[in-house]
């Protein structure tokens, strides 16, 4: 029982990170039905910037905020330079571009920071908050999950209560009518890219701040695939679905692998994909995704 509880706590920790990256992907998918494969690497670069700022003496949370703003601006520039000139309806070139960005950003980080793992500053109080039997829930897990909820609430508010948020949702819903209403599509999507990158940078920073991890240019590779799976589980266009998806993947990763002995640790990823397959078989639009109804 204690072991099970411990695994649930672990699920919360990993799940929160996956959820934050998944949320970033959902933001871009909502508006453009495009999966941004560079999302994880943008987040990794953002986390390295945070680390660098911290090393230069900027207080930790200040560094995180500046890092988020920086990666938001960078993402806005990437959108303007590489994405906007292509037809948004033609996905293949755009997917290739995001894969290209993935490789370039990864290479840049490797050139600047090398492949040696570096330790990342503690973002949250260390130690355990709650102990139930032998199961320990760390402050880190609580804060990681809390940050995730906070980001979702902020995004939710931004999208429903502000004019640019309304424009973003209008563009997601009907591109042509948005143009006819005078919404500048490019600027609105750029806003989405910036928002997504900022959320991703927070996610990667929290991930790297995990006491058992260190930061290196490949840190987000596995997390990216888990996050894509999480986003797909949630329905790809639902922010809260991304959270549920993230936690589910975290759960699969820690619990299923623990209790099904013939699945070796290396097969975690496959287990996550099998879960995705099962869920999508019964709920084709994921946990909370919009069902597409075609009226003819």
């Amino acid at each position: 029982m204690d072991l099970f509880l411990q695994r649930l706590f672990d699920a919360l920790t990993n799940g929160s990170t996956y959820a934050l990256i998944a949320v970033a992907m959902v933001l871009i998918f909502k508006a453009t039905t495009l999966i941004n494969f560079a999302q994880g690497e943008q987040a990794m670069l953002g986390a390295f910037i945070v680390l660098q700022l911290w090393k230069w003496g900027i207080p930790m949370w200040g560094a995180v905020v500046i890092g988020m703003i920086f990666s938001g601006i960078l993402a806005a520039c990437l959108e303007r330079t590489f994405i906007r000139k292509f037809d948004p309806a033609d996905h293949l070139p755009l997917v290739i571009i995001t894969l290209g960005l993935f490789l370039v950003i990864n290479a840049v980080a490797a050139i600047v920071w090398r492949f040696d793992p570096l330790s990342f500053p503690q973002l949250f109080p260390s130690g355990k908050a709650v102990t139930i039997g032998d199961a320990r829930l760390s402050w880190y897990s609580i804060f990681a999950f809390g940050s995730c909820l906070l980001v979702l609430f902020i995004l939710q508010t931004l999208l429903t209560k502000t004019k640019i948020g309304l424009a973003f949702r209008a563009v997601s819903s009907n591109l042509e009518s948005s143009r006819l209403c005078g919404i500048k599509i490019g600027k609105t999507l750029q806003f989405g890219w910036a928002l997504a990158a900022a959320a991703g940078t927070l996610g990667a920073s929290i991930y790297a701040a995990n006491p058992v991890l260190q930061i290196e240019p490949t840190i987000m590779l596995r997390a990216l695939i888990f996050s894509i799976t999480a986003a797909a589980l949630g329905g790809l266009d639902s922010l809260w679905g991304a959270l549920i998806g993230g936690l589910t993947i975290g759960f699969v990763q820690s619990v299923v692998v623990q209790y099904i002995p013939f699945i070796p640790n290396e097969m975690t990823l496959a287990a996550a994909v099998v879960v995705l397959l099962i869920v999508l078989t019964f709920r084709p639009s994921g946990f909370l995704g919009t069902k597409t109804v075609e009226r003819v």
């Binding site: 004019k163 209008a170 819903s173 006819l180 500048k184």
Partner: protein
């Protein structure tokens, strides 16, 4: 010609390699209702899309004395042209109220709330459903919402693309009666593309018939209704 609101001359539009409009010429006077009739593929929708800046065009489109040929849709709506595209053009995932807010996107004055109230007075059913998603409305209600959404930008000219499409006859009648009162009360000028020639000509001041990208016939609506060729082609004999 100072009463001319929209003046289109030598308008050509192409989709990829294919030229759809071959240099058409027409105009819309202030406070008029003008209808463009024509068969499928004649270029009716393209004509409206050319005016609102959604397709590449050559020629001359003058609105209120200013050339708008080179402008994109986001600027043209600001000049006072609102376009209700074919198939409603609402935002299905947004609520009715949010749809109206998006309609007022280009505005920053303080009358938006009041204009929203006016929409609700015109169509009380939209008020009842203001918190529902637009996608949950019936076809007729969505068309009401689409028109209201367009009016929220306070247009001088309203472009309507086949508003009757897919709606039951009695709903179409109500809708067109509303267009007529809107035109009389608010003075909104309308350019309507329709296949339902009967009901459109009954309400319009003037009409044009578009055939394969060229204006074939033009004239007063009441004359067009009685024109033998038009009766045969568009009014079922």
């Amino acid at each position: 010609m100072k009463n001319t609101l929209l003046d289109v001359d030598e308008l050509k539009a192409t989709y990829g390699q294919m030229e759809v409009l071959h240099g058409i010429k027409f105009h819309v006077q202030r406070n008029e209702i003008v209808v463009i009739l024509g068969a499928n593929g004649a270029g009716k929708t393209t004509t409206l899309r050319a005016i609102s800046g959604m397709v590449e065009t050559t020629g001359r489109i003058t609105f209120n004395g200013d050339s708008i040929t080179e402008l994109g849709p986001d600027y043209i709506v600001g000049k006072g042209i609102a376009h209700v595209p074919q198939g409603r053009g609402t935002f299905p995932e947004l609520t009715v109220e949010e749809n109206l807010k998006v309609g007022a996107f280009i505005r920053s004055d303080n009358d938006i709330k009041a204009d929203m109230e006016t929409c609700y007075e015109t169509y009380p059913v939209l008020y009842e459903r203001r918190l529902q998603s637009a996608g949950s409305l019936s076809g007729g209600e969505q068309q009401m919402l689409a028109v209201s959404r367009a009016l929220m930008s306070k247009p001088e000219l309203l472009l309507l693309d086949e508003p009757s499409l897919g709606l039951a006859p009695q709903i179409v009648e109500g809708l067109f009666a509303r267009f007529k009162t809107m035109n009389q009360d608010l003075g909104t000028t309308m350019l309507i593309v329709e296949q339902n020639a009967q009901i459109a000509l009954a309400m319009a001041d003037r009409g044009y018939v578009l055939e394969s990208g060229e204006i074939a016939v033009e004239g007063e609506a009441n004359l067009l209704v009685n024109d033998d060729a038009i009766r045969k082609a568009y009014l079922g004999g």
